[in-house]
Structure formats: structure tokens, C-alpha cells
């Protein structure tokens, strides 16, 4: 019997009832990985030995009748920008190619405490900068629905493991759409929690005020299950919220009666992909039919989101990535004659073109004489964008939009045109700027059988509203049950 194509909530029951062992699940997942990984290339590091050891531990606990945790024996794929002690953490960059982490990210400790098994580290855009996983130093990841298409990014590897059943659950990070856009591209569920809901300690920083870790899963229930483990206050992260998280599984109600759903007109514009628009409109209609109230709303500052994001995120990144200098760890140029040359060559050789582009953008925006016109102005507009959402959520419980303007595009299609690439995140960026939570879940396919994603947003710390709307939609559709043929 195949186990790899099951969800975590199905498997945890089977493992606890001793129908299957964690070892069997883990071995089965690795069998799947060995079969499809040559085509998909979702992972940069596989942790088979460690995973089997973790599985054995869980099995021993269960055999002894001990409590084995909420995720006992569940194989989880981790994006390669989260630190697991003693394993490589590369961020898919040459500059960290040889870096072995000396510590655990908080979420790794939380997952371990609940019995999770780590399958490996997944491929990503270098330092999470990109929307296609094409900027990885280790090569591309391929979309399981069409191996000529991108899996989305930057958490493209994690999203691909879900579509290809190369793990049971996965974690990604989202700075401007990096969980939701690949989830949309790969036809799976991806949640970016409220900023501060999940600890960032141990997540390699791209843009500190925007980054957030979240689940990529095969259905909505698994996303709630994973959130129950990782949504915890962490004293090691000063931006972590000291607010007790609810039991998200309890918000999985198949009922949207009376729920107010906002449809922002700025997200449905002339010239958008017809198939995407049709699927999203149909999803909204279905929710209306199920009892939700549909309200047209306006988020007037939407047009500035992309510009604000591409000033603030690179500004923070330019400082966050300054530490990769070849002095302490990571790649160091073999031929430098002095300190300045060591810095220049190490960074020149160690970073890829997209990372360099953003470091330069950010350095420029923070330079004396430009700070007020760029960084400071962008911060002010960010506040206006936040206010737009606050106003909107006075009227509605959730906001629904497409996750991405199109389904997954062809590999190589946008690599030479950064502006076109940046537009892939046009519908997801505002959520990070506002700090609110949002989920992407499958809502249909294009005529080419490529998945389309529905984005559901809610106000700060109201992931429960998202779960309720998403769960209801999922229970009344079958998109999430479809699997690519590999």
C-alpha cells in the first residue's frame, strides 16, 4: 500500500492506531522520492538516515505506550533557509554551499518535540529572492504538473514535494508571496500566517519585517494541524507575538453562512488571465451559494504595493545579507590579496545575479541623500496600505483574490525580464506589507491542466476566518484531490 500520497491527518491516526509504523511511512516516502526526484528535483539535501532514526524513535515511543506528539512520525520537508543543527543550510546559494548549521530554528525544535521526521531541505530561489525557483545555485525545480513549467517560488521545492508526494507536509517562508504563489502553481495549500504568529528565529533573513514561516500542505486540515504546532510565542524572536494561538483544527467548519467575503476591485483588472479570473469568480459564486455574503470592496493603494515592496524588501536584504563575507563561514574566494578584495570577490562570486540586483537596489535606497525619497516614503505608503486593509476588515471577514495573475509559466520565460518576474507577486505582496495572514488553495485548472490558486486573506491573527472559508470551499470541491501524473 502506498502511504506517501496520504495527508498528515490521515497518517497520524494510522500511526497512533499502530496500523502502520513511522518507519514504514518514512521508507515509503523515500521510495517515492527516489522514484520521482530525478524529474522534479525538489530537494537540495536529503536526510534519509536521520529521518529513519527519528522514525525509529517515534515507533519506540508508540510501542512503549508513550505520548509521541501531534505529528508523530510524519515526514516533513523543510525549505533550505531554516536551520537544522548539523545539516547544511544553503539558501540555495553558492555563498552558503558549505555551511553547516550550528543550531536549530525554533520551528525545528517545535516540530521535533511533536515527533515530526525531517525528509530533507528543499530547493528555493537563492535567499528566497524570486518567484520561480530558477535562481537556485543548485539548479531548477520542475513543476510536477508539467515538467516544462516552473513550480513557483521562492518555496518552489517545498510546493513541489507536496504536488509530487515527496513528503507528507512541508514548510516554506513567505516574504512577498513565496508560500502562496508556489502553492498556487503546484495546486496545493499554502498559508502565510500573521507576521509575528510563527517564530522567525532560525529562518535565514531576507526581509525581516516581511518574512514569515508557514505550512505547505496537501489540504486545509493539514495546514491547521501544522499551525497548531508552529504557531507559538518565542522569546528568542522579539517580533514574535505573545498571543496564545487557538486550536486551528476547531475552526475547520464546513459552513460559511453569514460570513462576509470582500472582493477588492483592484485585484480584478482588464487584461488579467481569463482562465484564472473565471476559476476565481466561480469559487466566489460557490461560496455565495453556500451562504456567504459577497461584498465588493476597494483597497485604493494597491497600485503602490509592488513599488513599496521593491524598496523595503531589498533595503532590509542589503543589510541582512551583509554578513556573507567569507570571514566567518560560507564561501570565500580562493584568490584575494587584501581585505577589500576578499569582500568583493567573495560576494561577487558567491551571490547570483538576482541577489546582487536586490542588494544594489537596497543599498541605493538607504544611501544618504536617497533615504527620505525612497525608504522613508515607502514606509509611509506601507502604513497607508495597512490602513486600507484595516478599513476593509471593518466590513468583511475575509478578502478573496486570485493568488497569482497566471498559472505556472514556462521555465526560462521570465528570467531575462525582472519586471515581468516581479509582477508574478502582484496579488500576494500587499499581504506581507500589511502583516496579515493569507492562504492559497486550489480552485481549478487551466485548459493546459495547470493549477489555479485562490487567495483568502483575513485581518491580523484571524487565521481562523481563513480556515473556515477555505475548509468550506475545499469540502465542496475536489480540486485538492487531483494529483499530477509523474
Amino acid at each position: 500500500m502506498d502511504l506517501f500520497n496520504l495527508t498528515a491527518h490521515e497518517l497520524t491516526a494510522k500511526i497512533k492506531n499502530k496500523e502502520v509504523t513511522s518507519k514504514e511511512v518514512t521508507e515509503n516516502v523515500f521510495k517515492r522520492i527516489e522514484a520521482v526526484e530525478p524529474k522534479v528535483k525538489a530537494y537540495v539535501t536529503l536526510l534519509k538516515d536521520k529521518a529513519l532514526a527519528q522514525a525509529a524513535e517515534v515507533d519506540a515511543k508508540i510501542a512503549a505506550g508513550k505520548e509521541a506528539g501531534l505529528l508523530a512520525g510524519i515526514p516533513i520537508a523543510i525549505k533550505d533557509n531554516m536551520n537544522i543543527k548539523g545539516t547544511k543550510c544553503t539558501c540555495s546559494s553558492k555563498i552558503l554551499n558549505n555551511f553547516i548549521s550550528p543550531y536549530n530554528a525554533t520551528i525545528i525544535d517545535l516540530l521535533s518535540a511533536e515527533g515530526a521526521v525531517f525528509t530533507g531541505k528543499t530547493n528555493m530561489d537563492e535567499f528566497a529572492m524570486g518567484s520561480s525557483t530558477e535562481t537556485s545555485f543548485f539548479g531548477k525545480t520542475f513543476n510536477p504538473w508539467n515538467l516544462q513549467a516552473i513550480p513557483g517560488g521562492s518555496s518552489g521545492g517545498s510546493a513541489a514535494t507536496m504536488a509530487a508526494d515527496e513528503a507528507i507536509m512541508a514548510l516554506g517562508s513567505d516574504t512577498g508571496g513565496s508560500i502562496r504563489q508556489p502553492a498556487s502553481c503546484c495546486g496545493i495549500v499554502g498559508l502565510k500566517p500573521t507576521y509575528g504568529r510563527v517564530s522567525r528565529f532560525g529562518l535565514v533573513a531576507f526581509a525581516s519585517s516581511l518574512d514569515q514561516i508557514g505550512p505547505l500542505t496537501k489540504d486545509v486540515t493539514d495546514a491547521a494541524l501544522l499551525m497548531n504546532v508552529i504557531a507559538k510565542y518565542d522569546p528568542k524572536d522579539s517580533t514574535s507575538a505573545n498571543i496564545l494561538a487557538p486550536d486551528y483544527l476547531k475552526s475547520l467548519q464546513n459552513n460559511v453562512k453569514g460570513m462576509k467575503i470582500g472582493i477588492p476591485k483592484e485585484y480584478f483588472v482588464e487584461g488579467m488571465d481569463k482562465e484564472v479570473e473565471k476559476s476565481v469568480r466561480e469559487a466566489i459564486k460557490l461560496l455565495e451559494k453556500l451562504g456567504a455574503q459577497i461584498i465588493e470592496i476597494s483597497l485604493p493603494n494597491t497600485e503602490y504595493c509592488l513599488a513599496v515592496y521593491y524598496i523595503l524588501a531589498p533595503s532590509e536584504a542589503s543589510a541582512n545579507l551583509a554578513r556573507y563575507d567569507g570571514v566567518k563561514y560560507g564561501y570565500r574566494t580562493p584568490d584575494a590579496n587584501d581585505l577589500l578584495e576578499q569582500y568583493e570577490k567573495t560576494r561577487g562570486e558567491g551571490f547570483g545575479p538576482e541577489v546582487k540586483r536586490r542588494i544594489m537596489l537596497g543599498t541605493y535606497a538607504l544611501s544618504s541623500g536617497y533615504y527620505d525619497a525612497y525608504y522613508l516614503k515607502a514606509q509611509k505608503v506601507r502604513t497607508m496600505i495597512k490602513n486600507d486593509f484595516e478599513e476593509a476588515f471593518k466590513k468583511v471577514d475575509v478578502i478573496i483574490t486570485p493568488t497569482a495573475p497566471s498559472a505556472a509559466f514556462k521555465i526560462g520565460e521570465k528570467m531575462d525580464d525582472p519586471m515581468q518576474m516581479y509582477l508574478s507577486d502582484i496579488f500576494t505582496i500587499s499581504v506581507n506589507l500589511a502583516g496579515i495572514p493569507a492562504m492559497s488553495l486550489p480552485c481549478g485548472f487551466t485548459s493546459q491542466k495547470m493549477p489555479i490558486g485562490l487567495q483568502v486573506m483575513a485581518k491580523h491573527f484571524n487565521e481562523e476566518a481563513i480556515f473556515r472559508a477555505a475548509y468550506t470551499y475545499e469540502q465542496n470541491t475536489n480540486w485538492h484531490k487531483e494529483k499530477p501524473r509523474l
Binding site: N81, M82, N83, C89, C91, L96, F99, S101, P102, Y103, A105, R200, F201, G202, L203, V204, A205, A207, S208, S209, P235, K236, D237, S238, T239, S315, E316, S318, A319, A322, R323, Y324, D325, V327, K328, Y329, L339, Y343, T363, L366, S367, S368, Y371, Y375
Partner: protein, 478 residues
Amino acid sequence: MKFEAVIGLEVHAQLKTKSKIFCGCSTQFGAEPNTQICPVCTGMPGVLPVLNKVAIEYIIKTSLALDCKVNPLSRFARKQYFYPDLPKNYQISQYDQPVSEHGYLDVQVDGKTKRLGITRIHLEEDAGKLLHEVGSRQIDGSYVDLNRTGVPLMEIVSEPDMRTPQEAHAYLIALKSILEYLDVSDCNMEEGSLRCDANVSIRPVGQKEFGTKAEVKNMNSFKGVQKALEYEIARQIKVTEEGERIVQETRLWDADKEMTFSMRSKEEAHDYRYFPEPDLVPVVVDEKWLAAIKATLPELSSQKKERFVKEYSLPEYDAGVLTADKNLSEYFEATIKGYANPKAASNWIMTELLAQLNAANKTIKESLITPKHMREMLELIDKGTISGKIAKTVFEEMFASGKMPDVVVKEKGLVQISDEGAIAKIIEEVLAANAKSVEEYKAGKTAALNFLLGQVMKKTQGKANPGVVNKILKDKLS
């Protein structure tokens, strides 16, 4: 043309918190390189800072003692520059929203009180240390020690209110005293827990506008600061008088050559690209917290000085010297605990002890003569067991060996001879041996008495009670 100097000082003081500013590593000085480090202070990918609350309390204490206004909300900022001793290649510091602003410090110069403004006090993390291996290999090596990285550092920026190097020196002495009293910093310039940079310019007397300033760095003692300023002021006057322009630049003080040298000009100055630190939330100080910290403020030197005058009837001068250094004031109070003559203790501490410590280049904390030594010695003098003169011998031995005074007296046989019979016998011997002097005295040459007295003391190795000797000698000669 007459010139005056305009001086402002930037003082960096390491806060003596147990752990670093953003992680739990120890701040202990002198450990083996890279033994007090962790992923956070070494800037590993993915780590986050968590602010040490004690560091904020220390800086608020200092702010209150310097009459600064504590901002209800202050913020950290990233100061960006590349250097191998700075693992993240940015320093978490403060920029436009420091912890406190607008304070002052009163100092005494030439008997006059001068009020010197404090612009701001802010908190930041210290950098590591580079160790260079030069000449011993084909390719010279440089090594990085990150033990110091992340030690909390308080920067106190003064207004450009000082006009002479003496004022700058007085400011530093007064500031150090306050930090020591508050027990927030070790203030040890040699270990680098206190550092000082100076901004200095000159202008013709009477001119209001400031001249072009130079920033002078690398001074490693208070005297060094004064000397560097003296040199730099003279240099700027000379340059100006020769008709040339002062350039805005950073200059390094060379303590051996006693000169300042240009390090970099303004054109090469850094653009630090400050921006608010997104990994930390703003520091909010409410009235309640402020009041709680205020309640823990200890007695400061000026208050203690007043108390010493009142409580111990000491002269202003003595009280000033004894309270300038917190450790010295505590030494004094420990000495006179249960001892009735504070002025005698003050005299011994201010003259003998401070002189000896100075000569030996030791601090009061390192003194082998403890308050107990000092008190027992004073009691031996009061009881007449030893004379004041003998006490100096006892003092020297205590200073060198740390032996208790009664032990020294016993070992060296220094007990004062006050027995009249014994002294009379020695005097008779001396008079018999110095008939000529006796005659001279009787002929009216009073100086001969001192000679005879000296002979008696010499014979008793200084142990004879001088009062008794004087009395008997006069009796015998009359």
C-alpha cells in the same frame, strides 16, 4: 590673533551586565579568544537579537544621574559598514531616537564650577577584536576574537561646551566617577571598558561660529586625552596661522610620538546607511519603570561629599578627594567604622596611601593595606604603641607585604620606648659622649638640642617616644 578651542567628547563605556546585549553569552574580560560566543553574537544565518533589559536599566540610571530626559520611546537602528570584527557587517546601534537626551554635568576647573551639556546617551553593541600576526609568516595573518562582540556599550555624547583640555579632563574624571558610583561600568581604559573620542576645532576668541573640526581617536588614558587635545589645538592654530585651512578629518593619537596623524578625510567618510532595526521592537519606558529605576539610584559623589563634611567634620577639600572615586570613599568609610578620628584617617589615606598607590601604579582595590590594616595602625598610634614616625615604617611594610600592623611592630621590634627610666639612661650615655654639644647648648646654641635629640633617637632606632625624650633631655640640661 587669539584662539580658543571648542571641544566635544564622545565616551563609550561598556556596561557591566553579566550577559551580552542581545544574547546570553558572558561579558567577562580576559577569557581565551572565542570562548564566549554563540550563534547570535557571531552573526550566524537566521539568528535574531533579544534585548538585555538590564542594559536599558543601566543606561536609564546613567541618564537620570546626568539629568538627561529619558525618551518614552527609543529605537534601535542598523549602522552598516564592513569590517571583520563586526560579524553581521552592521552594528545594532541607535540613531535618531536614542534612550535619552539633553542632560548636563557640572565640573570643577580652577576652583570654578562649569556646566557641560550632554547631547545624548544611546545604547549599542560592541564589536570584536582583531589580532594581527605580522612578519612571522610568509603571508601575515589576521585573527578575529569575537568575545567582545555584543558587549553592551553606552555612548555618551557631550555638547561642544569645553574650551580647554583641562575642562575635557575634568569632564572625564567627573563622568567616570558617576559611572562608578552607579556601578554600571568598570571604566577601565586599559581593558577598553571606557573609550573616548574627541571632536576639536579652534576659532578666534569672540567668534560665534565653529571652526572646521577634527575627530581625534585612539587615546587610552585621561591624561592621553588631555595631551592629544593640547597637541591638536596647537597644531590647528599653527596651520591656521600659516594661512592654511583646517580639513575635516579623523586623526589618530600616537601616545609614543605624542602627535596626531590623519586617518581619513571627510570625502572618504562612511555612509553608514542607518535604518530602523526590523528585528527589534522599540524600547518603551513608562513613568512607572522610570520611577522604579529612580528609586534604585545610589548616593552620587556630590551628595556623598556633602555628607562627609557634615557627618565626619572633614574639610571640603578632604571630602572632595575622598569621594571623587567611589572605591576610595568606600575604603575611607570602612576604615573609620568604629574609629573616632576621621581626620587622622583622611590624612593617612590622602597623603601616604594615595602617594604610594600612585607610585606603584595600583588602584585602591589592589591595595594590600585594607581598611582594617589602616584602622589598627591608627589605633596603635593613638595608644602610643608606635609613634607617627614609626608608623611610616609600619605603613611601608604593610604596603609591601600586607602584614597586619601589630605583626610588623612585633617582627621588627618597633614598639615605642616610653619608659622614663630607660630613656633617662640612654640620655645620660648620649650626654656623656657629646660633652661638646652639651656645652654649646648651655652657651645658648639651641640647635645643639636637636642634635642631641637625634642622637638619642638614633641609639634607640627611632623607637624612643619623642615627647618623653624631649622632656627628660631638657630637664637634664637645665
